[in-house]
Structures are given as structure tokens and as C-alpha cells.
Symmetry: D2
Subunit: 278 residues, 4 copies
């Protein structure tokens, strides 16, 4: 009766300090490893002879970190997948999730400090590497990129039914936390440069778009990435609508000229789509 199954180690916290001659660099990752394959004996009869402990997966992450490059971290993911697929009797598929927490040098007397850093906010960089004995695919992404535009955002002309009370607007705050994952068509590319350019394409499109809805802007963001970057064959974007509601000041004899808002957490709209190259 056992259908799909997988097991692995999550939340492996790895910090590598690169001691370059003129300055230090920090690579700060949270890694998760997941194996799938023929583990039926372990499930059904408690026979662990084919089960590599998740503790060993953790050890492998630290051991490989010592003698492999972690920049860009996508290639470290590729190396980890290859490691878990090597040898005999191994899993049929391996997935490694990597989350990078960026640090930037502190600025002291106008210059980047060589060994003091600041965590640059809540945004994380993501890579997901999946491999089988036949092939390996790399997905990159970002999460927690909180952005807001205070002009060029409307929502009107929508469908109404007897339960609709939302007023139409041609000028609203559009705030969201961007989560985007894109799949590369190949694995021998300059991951770091591409990541920077794709992120910039997402941000510039968000900023410049004359938005008729979250869907409309999401689609434009995805199209911009696919148009500019042939290396990407698919992008998945998730945009929670972090509603900023105008406060009704009329009970206090005041007018709200679209200036005073309450930022709400719940409920929130959630708009998701995948764009794929034809």
C-alpha cells in the first residue's frame, strides 16, 4: 500500500567563512537533503539496511563544505546531489534545498569593512537541485522580498455578485512579499550573474508596471524574466496581497486623501501563477 515516500534532513545550518587576503566573505546556508527510492523494507518490516541515517546527510553537508566551493551555492547543491547519488544501492532521486541568508559588509568611514557584516534583511536566496541517475535540474529563486508601490496600481472593472462590497479604485497601495522560483534549462551557466539579473528584472517590472491587478503585474514580471533570459524555461511566482486599507477618518471630521492606511496581516489575497516557455 506504500506509495510515494521520501526522507531526509532539514534545517542544516552551515556557515562558511572565506578568508580572502584582503577581506572575509560569509556564506550562510540552511540546507535540506531528501532522498527517495526503494525504501519499502524499512517502512514495512523495519529493515534499515538500505537507510542512510539523516545524521549522515548532515555530516555530508559539513564535510563537503570543507573542500567544495560554496559560491555560487547552486553548484554546491549540484555537488551534494552527486555525492548522494554516487556509489551502489543508492536512492533513485535526491533533492537538495538551499536557502542563502545574505550578509553585506558594514560600511565604516565610507568603505566596506573587511570582516564585519550586517545581515541584509529578511529576503533569502533559494536553490533547489534535483537529481536522478539520468539527469540533474536546477531551480533558483528568492523568497521574502517585500515590496510596495504607491502609484500606478488600480483594481477596477471586476466581476460583482450580490456579496461584493469592495469599491473600485484607480489608485491603491500594492504591497507584497515576492516568492519566485525559476527553472534553468541547463546547469552550466553563471548562476550568480543570472540571479542578479533576474531579480532586477522582477523588481524593475514591479516598479514600472501600470498595474490593473496583482495577476496583471505577476504576469508581466514572469514575462520579463522569460523574455530577457533564454536560460530560464519556467518561472513560478507567488504574490500575497498585503492589503493596505485606507482608514475612514470621516467620523472624526477629517478627510483621508489616500494618505492614511492600516496595514493588515489577515485576511490576505494570494495570487499564484506559473509561466512556461512554449
Amino acid at each position: 500500500m506504500l506509495a510515494e515516500n521520501s526522507y531526509g534532513k532539514s534545517g542544516i545550518r552551515l556557515v562558511k567563512l572565506l578568508r580572502r587576503p584582503d577581506r572575509h566573505e560569509i556564506v550562510d546556508l540552511t540546507v535540506a537533503v531528501r532522498l527517495a527510492g526503494d525504501f519499502e523494507a524499512a517502512h514495512v518490516s523495519g529493515d534499515n539496511s538500505r537507510v542512510l541515517p539523516t545524521d549522515t546527510m548532515k555530516n555530508a553537508v559539513y564535510a563537503l563544505a570543507a573542500d567544495h566551493s560554496l559560491t555560487p551555492f547552486e553548484t554546491f547543491g549540484i555537488d551534494l546531489v552527486a555525492h548522494f547519488l554516487a556509489g551502489e544501492g543508492e536512492p533513485t532521486s535526491v533533492t537538495v534545498d538551499l536557502e542563502e541568508h545574505p550578509w553585506e559588509p558594514l560600511t565604516v568611514r565610507g568603505r566596506p569593512h573587511p570582516h564585519a557584516f550586517r545581515r541584509s534583511g529578511g529576503e533569502v536566496r533559494i536553490a533547489v537541485v534535483r537529481g536522478t541517475r539520468e539527469s540533474t535540474s536546477v531551480e533558483a529563486g528568492l523568497d521574502g522580498l517585500v515590496v510596495l508601490k504607491s502609484a500606478a496600481s488600480a483594481f477596477s472593472g471586476f466581476r460583482r455578485d450580490r456579496l461584493t462590497t469592495l469599491p473600485e479604485t484607480r489608485d491603491r497601495i500594492f504591497a507584497t512579499s515576492v516568492a519566485a522560483h525559476w527553472r534553468y534549462a541547463e546547469t552550466d551557466i553563471d548562476f550568480a550573474t543570472l540571479r542578479g539579473e533576474i531579480r532586477q528584472a522582477l523588481l524593475e517590472t514591479f516598479a514600472g508596471h501600470a498595474s490593473e491587478s496583482v495577476q496583471h503585474t505577476l504576469n508581466a514580471m514572469g514575462e520579463a524574466v522569460l523574455e530577457r533570459h533564454p536560460e530560464v524555461d519556467e518561472i513560478r511566482i507567488s504574490l500575497p496581497n498585503k492589503h493596505h486599507l485606507p482608514v475612514d477618518l470621516s467620523p472624526f471630521g477629517l478627510e483621508n486623501r489616500n494618505e492614511i492606511f492600516v496595514a493588515t496581516e489577515e485576511p490576505y489575497g494570494l495570487i499564484e501563477a506559473t509561466l512556461r516557455r512554449k
Copy 2:
């Protein structure tokens, strides 16, 4: 280039107070509604004429709550799905996620109080109802059920490689936070009774199983549900291994007779599987 897409409202917090003659009852839900269908015009050209605002979805949840039963909450999910599918030009598929936060009466002078309640912990009840014009399916579940067994749990005989350092053990603490989702083969059943019995089957199996690994116990839990409940045709279980590591007391001249543990959050094993009726 637009492939999959969906949109909806999440985090709709709904509390309904049932004023029964002898006592009150609280139903406390977090609801999410998600629609999919032909919304390409909204994405590509900013034409919102087929887009029902997510704000209207929220209104619908509150309006339907007023004149529909919320017990069991699975049927409220079915009613919500039907509502969003009714009428013309509607979405082709609707998903409603419901999370119930249970409250139990306070005990005062040995008896349940008629209108004072306590939130019964972190465990939540889950239902996911998916519908199209052709069919509706109901998945039920639970999440955040934290359990621990301090005997009848081993992990030995596992695969070793040069990076394996984990000692074998025939007596370890096994702690986890159970997340389980099961799919019903039908929708005209007694959801509340089944839920209670399935939860009890999961817990009794966890407690009584002679565990050789997390996988082994997970499989036994899933099998117990499928064997006892023909209404269930599939169950998906996720068991994070909340490691409790014995503390090495030897530097202090003390022996740890498997009594003193450090409970860790990171890293954690994660074991997942789906069991399906043949």
C-alpha cells in the same frame, strides 16, 4: 506562456458562536478559498471582468456561515465550494482549505462550564475540499499533534558510509509533530466520528508500535487507518524527527543513564510517505 494559475483569499478568520439552550459552542476556523479557471485575460491584458475579488470571497465565507451549519466543518467546506461553482462564467475548480482551532469548556467545580472555554493547544483540525463541475473530493487531516514515546523505539542496523558517526541505539526518545491528511472515497459520511476514530488509530499505533525507525512507525500508522476505515482511500503522513539527544555527562564525572536529553530544533529529520489503498 501562462500555465497554471490560481488566486484566492487566505487567512479568513471566522468564529461562530452556537447558542444552544444549555450551553454555548465555539467553532473557530481559518479559511482559505482558491479559484482556478480561465483567467488569462486578467493576467495578460488587465481585463478584470471575470475576476471575482478576493474580498468577495471573504464576504461569502461570513455570509454563508450565518445560515449554514459549521458542524462538522467539512460540510461547510462542501457548501463553500458549491457556492463558488454555482452560476455562470465561474471558475473551473475551487479549493477551500479549513483549519479548525479547537476550544474545550473549562472545568469548574468538576463540570464543564456552559460558556467559558480554553483553547486546547496547538493541534489543528484540517479539511481540504476541492470541487469542479464534475466532482467534489474531501480530504481531512490534522497538524501540530506533538507526541513523544520514551520506550519501544530503536534505530539500528542502518547503512553506514565513511561519513556516518551516529551510534546505533535500541532505546531512544521518539518525538514528532504529526501532520496527516487522508482522502475520503465518498462525501456522504459522518465526518466528525470518523475524524475522532482516525486520530485515535494514529495515536494508538504510535504508542503501541515497536518502532525500528520513524519510517517503520509512520507506515504502521498509515496502515492502521487504511485497515480500519474503508472510507479512506489514501493517507499522507509527515513526521519531523524532533531529536532528543542524550547529553554527554562524562566530562563532569557523571553517568547519563538515558535520562538527560537536550531537545533540539535544528537540524531535524523529516520522514514523509503516502499510503494508498490498492
Copy 3:
């Protein structure tokens, strides 16, 4: 220029398994140790010779746990304080914060299981032990006890100014997360029994009180404890008002007979007071 200072270790996770003949028992604590004293040399000139590492504090918690009783955990706090005050050149004051995460046996076939447990929700038990060479005081408490009453709760007759829009009500939901800390006048008492009785006094008063406001019920809860328990000479209670707002259903042609509410997180009222025995 250095005024107050303290240092210590927080987040020490300790689980002790008591292997009784007929059943196991779990004590699950998060401990924090804090020392204060003459540590000026460390601050000003970097001289660490009087600084016991926080790592050693962690070791002490595990080492003492091995040969001291943890039930009730208040006495373990007293033992820890005594440990850090013992010897020469030591800190002038020590504070130990303990948080207990309760586990209860699973019920299997109508009986408590001997070695399988369930975490009983979000409520934690608290103890704070403070000691100097002269004296030791014990404060006990609880946090995260989420309760709700759906009758016997009003808020009316309040002060109005030109910015007041809140309607008066004689029937509202009163939901809160109780945090209470009480100070014992002595340390040679039955902590576990007292804790249970004080918790019950808080809950029964919350349930039974004809509440005119959060303040009113908070005061009644504190008074109940001080009246019934001469061992307690002070109690501090904090009650966030977890607002449940009636949903306006009139736009949908429906009446809300005080049955449909939205539970909100932000903003929230926060009512706090200390009651002290004269």
C-alpha cells in the same frame, strides 16, 4: 559609566525522563540563568578572570539535572541558584527562569499509556527564582493560557471623547491569553499543589465573573488568588484583549445575532495590573 549589567545563558533545553516502575514521566524545561555582580573589569578592560562562561552555566543545568529532583521544577530553580552562589568570588545575585512545557500520557483503550505522551498545548508553566547571599525568592506563573467567555461579559458606560466610535455592549466575547506571575512569601511550600489551585482559582474566576471590563475581571482573578492563598503576597496579571468583532452582515441582507465574529490579531488591547497583599 557602567551601571546595571547582567549576563547569562538562555534557551537551555532540558528534558529529563523519569523511569518509574509502572510508567515514565517527562519533565521538559527551558532554562535561563543570569548572573549579576562586580563584572566591571570584564566590561572595561576585557579582563575575563571573574567571568564564568555562559557555556559553563549550560553544563551546570545538565549536570545538576542528573542528580537533583526536577519535580516540582521550582525546587530545581532553587538548587540552581544555590549552585551559582556557592563558592568564592561569585556573583552577588543569580536569577534562574524556568519554563515547563507540559506533556500528558496518551489515552489508549481508556487508560493512560505508560510511555507515550502528547504535548498539552501552548500553555507553559513558569518559575523565576532569584537569590543573593542573603535571601532567595520564588515567583511562579503561567503563560499562554488562552481562554474565552461567550457570556457574562460587557463593556459600557465608558468615557467618550470626540474620537470615540466604539458602541457600548452588554454582551461581547471576551478572549484573552492569560499571563500571570505570583510571588510566594516563603519557599518551603508544596509548589505543585499550590500551582494547581492557583491556576484553578484564576480559571474559575474568569469563567464565573460578571465582567464589566477586562480590568474588572483581571482584578477579580487577582483577588481570588490572594484571598484563597496566604502563601502568595503579590500577583501580576497581563490580559491582552483578543478582540472578536461582530461581522456586519447587513450589506448581504442578513442579520448577525451576535453569532458571527472575526477574530483579530492586531491591534489588541493590553490590560495589566499587580495586586499586592497589604
Copy 4:
């Protein structure tokens, strides 16, 4: 028996959009208001006639935001305190806590965009304004400023007892999340400029200090602020030690040249001190 008491509204989320001719500016605040005074009647007899509802406090925040400046937000706090103290029969003391969540313009084609923004990470700016009929004091601060130095940090020569196992080190990673609160001696100052300079003093000292311990660096940070800024008469700093532990790679036949670390959350050191001008 009622001793101290206070009540108020927390978590008031306020976003003000400043529509300047050439660009927009966002002020994003979370505000809490707390009143203390003679509210004994409300507590003891349920008489609410002197109780201004916390809902009115929320209204006041939004109403005042409409016609008061929010830049710098310290002055908005002063205005709010004055508002709640004005009139008759009012509270004897008012505290307003403000947390500012900073947004920065997106960079598009090398230039700051006029109306698109990015949330600049987890660091928040803080102000606490306290007022009575006699006087008003302003405390400013910051929280969640996560920094790390990978050189010039040691911890050695510390006190040892029989439970000490920590090795000495002359080269360790020092990572922390800075929380600092400083009290101004006056209220008619340039809050925004001072805030920037004080933050920079904290960061530059952290970066440049030859650290013998967290205490040592904390003290240097506080001294730097007091020395450079006579407007500040007291500063309170809290530095959790976010331990980065070198991973033992010797079981894998590898050497760790102080390059591979595990970042841990629990347990953590916590070092706190107040520095006060004599």
C-alpha cells in the same frame, strides 16, 4: 490591594504615504499606547466612567496621523502623549511605543524609483515617549540589527570551575542581534540626524573593537555613544550571543581551519548592560 496598573492598545499598524512633488515617502509604524492613573473604580467596582476605550486610542493614532508630521516619528510620539494628557480627568502618565519599519526606494536603472519601495530588512527603529503632567522624556532605539564579525574577537582567560569544558579561543565568530535604547536628556533636538549618528557609532565600534568578550564590546559601544553624543544621558544595550560553533571534521579525516561553522539558535548567551553618564 490593587498596586500598579496600566492599560492601552498595542499593535496599531499605521502607514502614511507622503506624496511629495518628485517622489513618495512611506512612514510605516506600529504604535502602542499605554495609560496609567487612578483607574481603581474600573478594577474594583466595574465603573468604566473614567476609562477611555482602547479603541479610542487607536482612533486617536489615525486621526492625529492625518494632520501631524510623522517625520521624525519621535515627534509624533510626543504629540500623541500630549494628546492623551490634555483635558480634564485624564491619566497621570502616558507611554507611547513606536516601532518604525523602514522602506527604501527600489533602484531602477541606477536611480531611486519615485514610488516603488523595498522593505529594508528586519531591523526596526524604536521610540518610547513617556509623559506626565510635569515632564516628557524620549528614548530612542533600534532592534533586530543582526551583525557578525569574523576577526578581532576572542574569549579567553575566563573563570573555570569543575563544570567548565569550553576551550579558550583567540579567534571566534562574534554574531549578535543588537538591541539598543538610549535616553535623550532633552526633547528639542534633531532626532533623525542623531539616530543615524548613534547607529553608526554602534556599528563602527562593533566593527573596529578588539573584542575580549561580548561584555567588552558592549561596553565600548555604549561608551562611544556617550562620548560622542552629549544629548544622550543613558544607553541600554542587549546583545544575545548567536553562537557559531566550529564543526568537528576530524571524524571525516578533514581539518577545520576555523572555516566551517554551525549557526545555532539555542541555547544562547545573553549580555545586557546600561551605561549612564555620571
